[in-house]
């Protein structure tokens, strides 16, 4: 899965970096490697591992009248029965099924276009498509909410010039979902395109020449050379996008606050509401753990489906 140096043949990636020969040196600085990783491990333990463990403990507690009570799996039982949690899951699922494939298809098309020698000024385009990724999440959320404002937004003003009625971008449940999808696509397509492009550049030109000799047209070459060559990068972008979507928080929080009427409520937003609006940290922790399990499961499935043949 690393996009390391170009392999000899397009189909198979190196299994991993060649093992750094180090056997003879094993005895000498035995402690050194551990010392080198120690800061990272310490930081991880303090800022990640400890909260992860603590939040699991929290998820087994409920606070009643200022005191902690151990309630076992109660929070998880409540979760299974919580319509809002299922709404959040469904919303997230819709984005996963609709927005992620569209975005990845777009990213693939972009990658192919940016790789093409027919395109002049490629670096400028590459930079241009990648730049949204560098924009702060909250900043671009606010910009989108201004652009998409129903009464004073630029988008509706432009539509108005064409004679269209104002679109309730953020205030109608269906349009709010579409707006959220648009914002996500704008922000992440370039990023995915760059990953795909990097991989694309490792596909040897000879394969295309061979395909041409065999009589494949542009489409045929895309199907039989480009796509198989992209497979590992497609897997990577799919997994990253899936995890990102499941943890989605900033965009709906800034754009719609999860509304209207929970149409854009994501698991992340729901978790935040329970923790920081209702002070229900036990329940919020249970939501977090349910989310973790989901991310793990989906990642596993995707590796199985897409990863096996690489």
């Amino acid at each position: 899965m690393t996009q390391a140096a170009a392999p000899a043949a397009g189909r198979s990636l190196p299994a991993g970096p060649a093992p750094a020969a180090g056997r003879p040196r094993r005895r000498r600085g035995r402690a050194a490697p551990y010392l080198f990783v120690l800061p990272a491990v310490l930081l991880f333990a303090v800022f990640k591992l400890y909260p992860i463990g603590w939040s699991f403990l929290l998820s087994l507690h409920r606070t009643v009248g200022g005191t902690e009570t151990f309630v076992g799996a109660d929070n998880y039982v409540r979760l299974a029965d919580d319509p809002l949690f299922w709404t959040a899951l469904r919303n997230t699922g819709v984005i996963l099924v609709v927005q992620v494939p569209l975005m990845l298809a777009l990213a693939t098309a972009l990658a192919v276009a940016l790789d093409s020698t027919l395109l002049r000024g490629r670096p400028v385009f590459r930079l241009g498509f990648f730049l949204p990724m560098v924009t702060g999440l909250v900043a671009y959320g606010i910009v989108f909410s201004v652009l998409l404002n129903k009464d004073y937004g630029l988008v509706n003003w432009l539509l108005g010039l064409l004679g269209a009625d104002p679109v309730p971008w953020l205030t109608d449940p269906l349009w709010a979902r579409i707006s959220l999808g648009l914002a996500l696509t704008w922000h992440y397509t370039g990023y995915n395109a760059v990953i795909l492009l990097a991989r694309l550049q490792t596909v040897p030109r000879e394969l295309y020449d061979a395909a041409a000799v065999d009589g494949a047209g542009a489409l045929g070459a895309f199907r039989h050379v480009t796509l198989p060559g992209l497979r590992p990068a497609l897997l990577l972008t799919t997994v990253l996008s899936t995890i990102g979507t499941l943890q989605l928080f900033d965009e709906p929080f800034v754009l719609t606050g999860g509304g209207p009427d929970n149409a854009t409520l994501t698991i992340g937003v729901y978790l935040y509401q329970n923790a920081f609006k209702y002070f229900d940290f036990g329940y919020a922790s249970a939501v977090a753990y349910a989310l973790t399990v989901l991310v793990g499961l989906l990642g596993l499935i995707q590796f199985r489906l897409l990863g096996e043949k690489t």
Partner: protein, 451 residues
């Protein structure tokens, strides 16, 4: 204005069933009491350095008060920080969650947040009773004391502003439509007048944040409820979201919306301000403090605006309701509690301070003695020569039933705004969505329904 105490009731009781201060636990091992106040006051009442958190207008007024304060207390250094609203609530929550770390010494807190903080974060606020707060018990509208001191012993905060439901309107527009606003007795009549207004002037009757981009989207609904003496919870903390009063209030909103009288304030505060400047709605059903905002935002419209108390929901019913109040609390974690208290006392119990603040930003004091000042009884040029201060003072003196916010107010509010969005955006049936909301609230909180 008067030595008699207005009969205004605003008793706040804390409901049980809290989901609470797990936060202390959540963040670090440093959990704990949030500074525990015990009995004695921390620090010197005449010396120290204190920080005050407030927002926008009130923050500016507190800042302006510092030079005067320093004449009496030259050795207390006061820094007022404008945290912004609603940002201040998250900031206070985070501070309390960290056991009081990083909190200011004096905190400006709304009535909707006070019970939640007190219940979820024991020790969050210093008990002001040992510092001398009890001496001022009768200085405020008596109902407010129940808000800051639910058990009558511990005093969590001191009341600052007391806001009554109001009805600000563009008199010139209604005049053009041939409507006598003073004669409107009920909201039903107001809706009919709104139809005429819309036909004649094209202006909406009022505005609501239909997709509920901010929680205060339910302010109007809540006011209609309180005008009927109802709320989300009863005094025992049981759920009353689906009461006949609530259905009636939501049905009124639906009727207005279906008649095309409600402009959309999607986007919250900014949308409200631009609607005000563009004149898209003729009525602003906002409480006392909003008058100052109107004067500030559209100074050129002086003489076009008027104010009255809102019409009744049912003919002959109440037209006065205390819809919210704000308070100053001293953080339990403060090292300078005594100095912080000196500032709170100076700002809130001294009529001259409150009169000054009222002159500045129109913030209505809970301190009764302040109303003796002529400023509350002068005609206002902006509001067409009306005595605006007296309009609201009448409301303050009218009986207003107890309101129980409980520690689950935030959950209730979210469910109410969702229900309202369903009605306004999807044309849902008020009774149906409110019943669902009540059931969901019961499921989330373990509270019982009143019916």
């Amino acid at each position: 204005m008067t030595d008699r105490q207005p009969a205004r009731r605003h008793i706040l009781r804390m409901g049980g069933g809290a989901l609470g201060g797990a936060l202390a636990l959540a963040l670090t091992g440093c959990s704990g009491s949030g500074g525990g106040t015990g009995g004695g006051a921390a620090g010197d009442p005449r010396k120290g350095s204190i920080t005050v958190w407030s927002w926008q207008g009130p923050a500016a007024e507190l800042k302006a008060l510092i030079p005067e304060f320093n004449k009496t207390y030259p050795d207390i250094r006061v820094t007022v920080e404008d945290i912004g609203n609603p940002a201040i609530w998250d900031k206070i929550t985070a501070g309390l969650a960290a056991g009081g770390q990083g909190l200011a010494d004096v905190l400006h807190i709304g009535v909707d947040y006070l019970p939640g903080y007190v219940e979820h974060f024991p020790g969050a606020f210093a008990d002001l009773a040992p510092l001398g707060a009890t001496a001022h018990k009768d200085a405020f509208a008596p109902g407010l004391w129940g808000t800051v001191s639910p058990d009558g012993k511990k005093v969590n905060a001191l009341p600052w502003e007391a806001n009554s439901a109001g009805f600000y309107y563009r008199a010139d527009l209604f005049e053009r439509a041939g409507v006598d606003v003073d004669a409107l007795q009920t909201w039903d009549e107001t809706i009919e007048a709104g139809k005429r207004l819309k036909a004649k002037t094209g202006v909406h009757l009022l505005g609501i944040d239909k997709p509920a981009s901010q929680p205060d989207a339910a302010n109007f609904f809540q006011m209609l409820l309180q005008l009927q003496g109802a709320f989300y919870f009863d005094l025992e903390g049981r759920i009353t979201l689906d009461s006949p009063e609530a259905v009636r209030a939501m049905t009124l909103i639906k009727t207005m919306n279906d008649a095309g009288l409600v402009s959309d304030l999607a986007g919250g505060w900014n949308a409200l301000m631009s609607s005000l400047k563009r004149g898209t709605a003729a009525v602003l059903p906002w409480p006392t403090w909003f008058g100052g905002i109107i004067e500030e935002q559209v100074p050129a419209e002086a003489g076009k605006w008027k104010v009255r108390l809102p019409p009744a929901v049912r003919r002959g019913g109440p037209t006065a309701a205390t819809v919210n109040s704000t308070h100053l609390a001293v953080a339990g974690s403060s090292r300078n509690q005594a100095a912080a208290w000196s500032f709170v006392e100076f700002a809130l119990t001294r009529p001259a301070s409150q009169v000054r603040i009222y002159r500045g930003k129109g913030i209505a004091p809970a301190l009764l003695k302040a109303y003796e000042d002529p400023v509350f009884h002068q005609p206002s040029a902006f509001f067409s020569g009306q005595r605006k201060g007296e309009v609201f003072l009448d409301a303050l003196k009218a009986p207003s039933p107890a309101v129980n916010y409980t520690s689950d107010y935030a959950r209730a509010l979210k469910l109410v705004t969702d229900a309202q969005s369903k009605v306004l955006l999807g044309g849902a049936d008020p009774a149906k969505v409110l019943t669902e909301a009540a059931r969901e609230l019961a499921r989330q909180t373990g509270r019982k329904a009143a019916r």
